[in-house]
Symmetry: C2
Amino acid sequence: MSDPRPIGVFDSGVGGLTVLRAIREALPEEATLYLGDTARVPYGTKSPETVTRFALESGRFLAEQGIKLLVVACNTASAMSLEALRAVLPIPVVGVLEPGARAAVRATRTGRIGVIGTEATIASGAYPQALQTLRPGLEVVSRACPLFVPLAEEGWTDNEVAYLTAERYLAPLRDRIDTLILGCTHYPLLRDTIQKVMGAGVALIDSARETAIEVTTQVRRQGLRGQGGGTPRYYVTDAPARFRAVGERFLDEPLEHVEWIRLGEDDAA
Amino acid sequence: MSDPRPIGVFDSGVGGLTVLRAIREALPEEATLYLGDTARVPYGTKSPETVTRFALESGRFLAEQGIKLLVVACNTASAMSLEALRAVLPIPVVGVLEPGARAAVRATRTGRIGVIGTEATIASGAYPQALQTLRPGLEVVSRACPLFVPLAEEGWTDNEVAYLTAERYLAPLRDRIDTLILGCTHYPLLRDTIQKVMGAGVALIDSARETAIEVTTQVRRQGLRGQGGGTPRYYVTDAPARFRAVGERFLDEPLEHVEWIRLGEDDAA
């Protein structure tokens, strides 16, 4: 059985391209749509109510484009808005949080896991909750790292500023954990610096890869297998120029077919 | 002649509170309203079209609250959207850009001026243009400093990370200018670090103070003088909690009367 409809990937901006990339590598036969809410990015400093409102508008838009499955690539929206999305959308919704948590539980030997993410993701407590559900008794240490996203977007991923910033954020976690969840799509760009600061003994969990595995499972289980991939189609809520420029750094390929749309606006205004 | 209507101050988020503060100090007899578009902050990475759409929605909202004068405290919106605001609003509109440029022209002895700001402000070329209009032949060097806003919001204003970041951004400007415009409302929080990197010989221009002087002139010239100030009224487009917390760092006083509003949304949706 097959289903030619595309898989939809939604993120607050460009960061989710790491998830899109992992999905395309795992499932080259799938068509894909990507929506980056670039007019309202970032979500990581905003309230649960506002993030959920934005996520619902984005999810509805992609559902109207005829996707068969929605991937919420944004950790913040996954932490805050997954239930709301599942309640209103008629398709399966996959977040990045549960796959990341599952991989961390598999990886840890000591049962002590660290989580880093945006202010909003960390404040939500969603990762510790997911981890505790998977294995009660785990010790979880969380830390918001607000400067990591602007550092990654500036391309400062392995210079002295990046290293010192990582040192400040992560020194309190070092020696306390053996596994660290990179709970934001931008953080894999800082992987080398984070690994250097944490030491080689700490396993870094990148949700992008784990989410691609989860999407593969869902697609196979539900008989939704695609019939040919091709170039993704991109939608953005701000002008495409900056998304194209920063996005190419995430994807290592040019972004074609980028369309500028509006979300949640009164077009009559 | 007097006019009890409030002065409206608009910013993408909390940064404009530095401008509000300067206006209240200069004009204690004026009532004030402040709008921070915290659901869609920041503007500094977004396109002119999107920033202008947001600015018009914000300007219209404040005009509907009955203000007598609008201050665009956000440098990005001042650089991109001042003409559009002046075209549609029936009240005087003051930006932060022209006052800052005027102060820089007064301060420079060598005629070589630096400007730092967000990506969007620098890309707009609005500062060099304003400076050249005031005094043709000036030499203007511009530099976007995208990490300064997140550093200021994180409260990392004078640690080693802030210093190294400033060194990277500003070293190419050092020895080439004698005056530097802090072209973003967040940057005065990093004033000490910026001064250290640039050296004591460089004058730093903070638009907040200059804008307050411009507002004072306008209010007096047009016979709009207020009849008593009092506590400002705040409007925000995201939940008030974070605005309150970060805002108190900018104002050194608690923020009362913070109301959560929606802008540009289809309320029927």
